[in-house]
Structure formats: C-alpha cells, structure tokens
Amino acid sequence: MKSLAELAAIRDKMKDKVVLREGSSQIRVVVGMATCGIAAGARPVLSAFVEGINNAGLSANVTVTQTGCIGICQYEPVVEIYEADKEKVTYVKMTPEKAAEVIERHLKGGKVVEEYIIK
C-alpha cells in the first residue's frame, strides 16, 4: 500500500458490498415473492431492482427485500416502497422496465410514478 488514495479506492469499491449488512437504509423496496408473485414474474422484477439500485449507486440508502403474499394476487408483481416518515407507495403489475423507471423517477428523483401505483 503506497498511498492513502489506494486504501480509499479499495474501501469505496468494497463499501457497496458490505453496506447490505448495516441495516441503516432509509428506503426499503419490498417485492412480493409468494407463489402468486413468482408466477406473475416477480423474480426478474426483483433482479431489476437489485441491479438497477446498485448501478445507480443507491445501495447505501436503499435495500431490497422480499415479502410473502400481500393479498392482491391479481395485481402481482407487487412492489412496495417504504420511506421513513412517508406513506407507503404500492406499485402493481410491475415489469423490469417499469422497475427501471421507478428507480430513475422515484428512488433517484423523489417523485412517485403515479401511473404504476395501485388505483
């Protein structure tokens, strides 16, 4: 190790990989992954969120987890977004493409994507 910059580079590269364990995220993205969700295509949606959030550099603030059946099976894949002090937002009939838009406009831009939420 010849310089502090080298150390900082390793830290920054690794930070995203361990941040998952700190549980300090302000935003939680919860994907419904019961049988109904999986059958409707929740897995690609989950992957799209995990990858998209990572690529957008948001992983320090956003965690992605799954949950069981929420009870609105006809709307699956369902994705809920929890943010401290804000009302829960429920997106329905999600696809990987819609996920990318939610990451861009909601998680990054801070604006709820009205057209995809449950009516």
Partner: protein, 608 residues
Amino acid sequence: MIRAHVLICGGTGCTSSGSKSIQAAFDDALAAQGLTEEVKIVQTGCFGLCALGPVVIVHPDGTFYSRVTPEDVKEIVSEHLLKGRVVDHLVYNDTGDKAEAAPEHASLNDTAFYKAQKRVALRNCGVINPENIDEYIAMDGYAALGKALTEMTPDQVIETVLASGLRGRGGAGFPTGKKWELARNLVKDADQKFVACNADEGDPGAFMDRSVLEGDPHALIEAMAIAAYAIGANKGFVYVRAEYPIAVSRLGIAIGQAREYGLLGKNIFGTGFDFDMEIRLGAGAFVCGEETALMTSIEGHRGEPRPRPPFPAVKGLFGKPTVLNNVETYANIPQIILKGAEWFSSMGTEKSKGTKVFALGGNIKNTGLVEVPMGTTLRQIVEEIGGGIPGGKKFKAAQTGGPSGGCIPAQHLDIPIDYDNLLSIGSMMGSGGLIVMDEDSCMVDIAKFFLEFTVDESCGKCTPCRVGTQRLLEMLNKITEGKATLEDLDKMEELCHYIKKNALCGLGQTAPNPVLSTLHFFRDEYVAHIVDKKCPAGVCKSLLTFSIDKEKCIGCGLCARNCPADAITKTDYIAPGKKLPAWEIDPAKCVKCGACISGCKFKAISKG
C-alpha cells in the same frame, strides 16, 4: 447481482456446534434453488450469543436464526431467501427458546441481548469475513493507521490515547497511553524497540480475546502498527495460545494479506515507516499470560516471570524497550485514532472509559460475549442482556477476574462495573470472564476450584506461590471434608495475606483473591462447613447424606437400578396408601453421585 448476505458464525463456539455443515447445506440449497448468483454466504467471527449457536443472520433484514441445523437450511432458503417469508419458528426470541408464535424481534439488533450493548472492540465481529482484508477495509479498516502515519506525530498518537482514558483490558487497568509514553521516552537511544500483544488468554471461562482474533484479526494488526509508530518500534510479536487453532489460523491469514497489500512491511503508505510482525504460540501455561513470563517465553526460554523493575518499557523483549498490550486493548485503538479521544472518553465512568467485553458464563441463559459501556451495572448484564438465571433459581454471586478475581454477591448487583469499583469490593476486572452462580453453588467449592487451577499453574519459581497455594488448597479441602476448625479459618486468612505480599508475580499475588473474597462475603458458609459440618448448597460431597423419605417412596425401585454402588436396598416398611415396600440408602456404600435423586419421579429422595 447479490441481493442478500447470509452470515454464518465461524467462531469457536458455533464451529463446535456445527456451523461448518450449515455452510455446506446453504451452498447446496442455494444451488438447488438457483440462487447462487443472488445470495452470498459469508463466514464471520463470533456474534456473541454462543448459547444459541450455530447462529445465522440474513441481511438486509437482519433476521436472526438460532440453533440452526442442516435440516433447517432448506426451509430458510426456500421460504426466506426465495419467497421472502421469515421462518418464524427458527428465529431467536428473548427467552432463548424457539418461538411458537411469530417473534417480536426478528432482527438481531432489537433483541434484549444486543440492545443494551455497545460494540467498539467487537464492532466487526459477526459483521465481516475475517479472512477477507477488503471487507475490513470497507469498514474503515487501516484508515486509522493511514491517519496516524500521515497526519499525526508519534507524540500526538500517544496524546490521543492518553486523552481517551483507555486502560489495559488484560485486567490490571494500567493507562495504555502512559505505557506507550514510557516506552517512547524512558530509553532515548534504544537501537531497537518492540510491540507485543498478549493473546495468551488463560482465565477459565474467558474468550474475549479469542473472539477478536477470530472475528476481526486485522484490527489487531492495525493497532499494533499504530503502537509501533507511536513508540518507535518496527517489529511486533503476538503471543497466542496454541489451544486457539481458529484464531491462530485467521491471524496468520490476516498477516499474509496485510503483507500482500503492503500494510505490513517496508515504507507503509509511502511514509518511510516499516513494520512487520510474527505469531508466537504459547504451549498453554497460565503463567505465560504474565507479562515478564510471556516475554521470556517469546525469547525461547522457559516461561517464568522475573522481578520488576526493570519494567518492559525499559527492558522488555530481548532486553529492548517493549510495549505489551492485551488484544482487547489494541482492538479499541483504531477507533480512538479515527473518532478521537473525546468520542471514546464520552463512554464509561469517571476513571474507566470506553467499553468492556465480558464472557458471560455459568448459570445464565444467554451464555456468550457481550460488550457494554463501563459503568453498566451487574444487574443489567445478568438480567437484561444475560436473560437471567435458568430454572427460576436465585442469583447468588458473580465471579469476575477468573483465578485472580473475586465474587460479587447479590447485595452488590447494582454496583456500576469499572476497574475501581470492582477493586473496592475485593474483586477485579480481570480480562473479563464473568461467571454467574445461582443458589446451588457452594462458595467454598468455587474458591477451591480456582485454587486448584492456580496450584496446577503455579510455575514454581517462588516459594510463596509454589508452596503457599498448595497449603491453602489443603486447608480448603479440609473445610469441604468437614475436618477443619475455626482456628484453621484464621490461619488460612493469614496465609492468604502472606502470599499476596510475597509472591513474585501477578499470578501468586492474586491467587488468594477467590478465597479472600468468598471469605469476606460468605463467611457464614465457611462456618457452616466447619461448625455444622454441612454444605448449605449441597455441593461438597463429604458433607452430604442422601436419604429416602419412606412415607413418599412408592417402592418402584428405579433408584436402586440407577445406583452404581448398589447402596440402595428394599426395606420391610410399606407406607400407608402405597402398595410396595420402601427402599433405603446405606450411607456407608453411597458414593453421593445423585443418580437416585434425578431419577425419582416422586421427590422421595433428598440430600442434606
């Protein structure tokens, strides 16, 4: 892309309860569900809750699974990792049992065991993979070394450690900054200095240092490099007991990785500072935890202490000025350098700053490792964090400081634990072993247990310790056999004080402490053994008699079948309402093993 981490404890406790096979089961189950690309398995150090091992934690939710078996793994993978449903019945609950209903706290950090803890020395234990230097660096690892080398002078490093109020965690509580200052300044023209680490953790029931070495070995390497910079040394030794194979292997891996990254070796961070270190294995002698004996052992000689002065800061390893600190002390250093002295000294009591790690053992629900701010009361540790005493038994005393320490009885449960308070009640902090005893423990027997240990471990160099502890043990034996007189008690006390004053090293000087402190707080128990020839707790076998209550005995004869000594025979007496004749115990044949009592469903057998 990884979306979840499964942390599996790889500490000694969980390894022996089977965490290796859990890891293999996870690999298989994840592959079967096609999740290997999404879920990462991480082997970590100790989480602390060894009683509930093997421990598995699933992030990002932080769900805390306990006593996981390979059979449970499939369910965790298919339910939790695939479908996102927490497997409730495998989650830890506050009573330490597997929950029937959905538990209140699925997450580790919400449990009573963790809530009251403050993790500084153990901050990375159970969080990172100790065999991966990158994960340590991600947790700001080696940043403190970088800061010290590039932004601080050695004197500033020492000043920071002094101002933090950190005291030696090995037991005696000498101010760490002071130690470093002496090693830096006392011998001005030394051609060579050393830093050393005492990882020869020998107190029965203590495993704080082991867990740091197993869970966060890089913290020790970083801290030793900082100490070396502060005092002007370029070589370090870690003295670890060979009985810690996992710790030794992980420390070895860590040293290799640090060398590869140039964090050990020449010209670290391009500052011109050189430092490297070696591991030396101890062969298991308790006395080698004493600093002068430890250094003699590193030099390759028989581990025996020598008189001080000269202190190690003047003449230590190979006759050169040396700083020797304990593992836990070192583990605090990087944090102090990074976050500052004020941050550290804001925790704790007036004279004892920071936190202390305790190894909780004995009659307590949550056996394991806890780290709390200094000044936490014993009651909080035992009742809140430790979950209290199993079986609804009453708390009798806690033993701290191992064979050098003493007992804290129930009337001192609310004493804030720090160095000075423990000394004032005749115990000591020690390295942090904390053994909880319930009402069924005999205090004379406890004193005897620790004394047997010191008699075994006395190196034999000085007479007060070699002969004195042996005589002391004989007196204790006499008491537990009911052959002692009250005069013996006074003699014993006198001998204790004599050994304390005259022994050469810390081992002998503190060896009588368990006797003195039990004598002080539980003199009535000693008197009961001597005068009444009774052991109130029913532990000392020579003073026990087992008897069968013939009115309660239904005559099933199970006790007689369980008796290994054929001491139980049938009588002619049939109690009113019973159909078979009662049995009786022949005290001459009875070996007092207690097999009859534990087998009797009718509570007809008693001891006293």
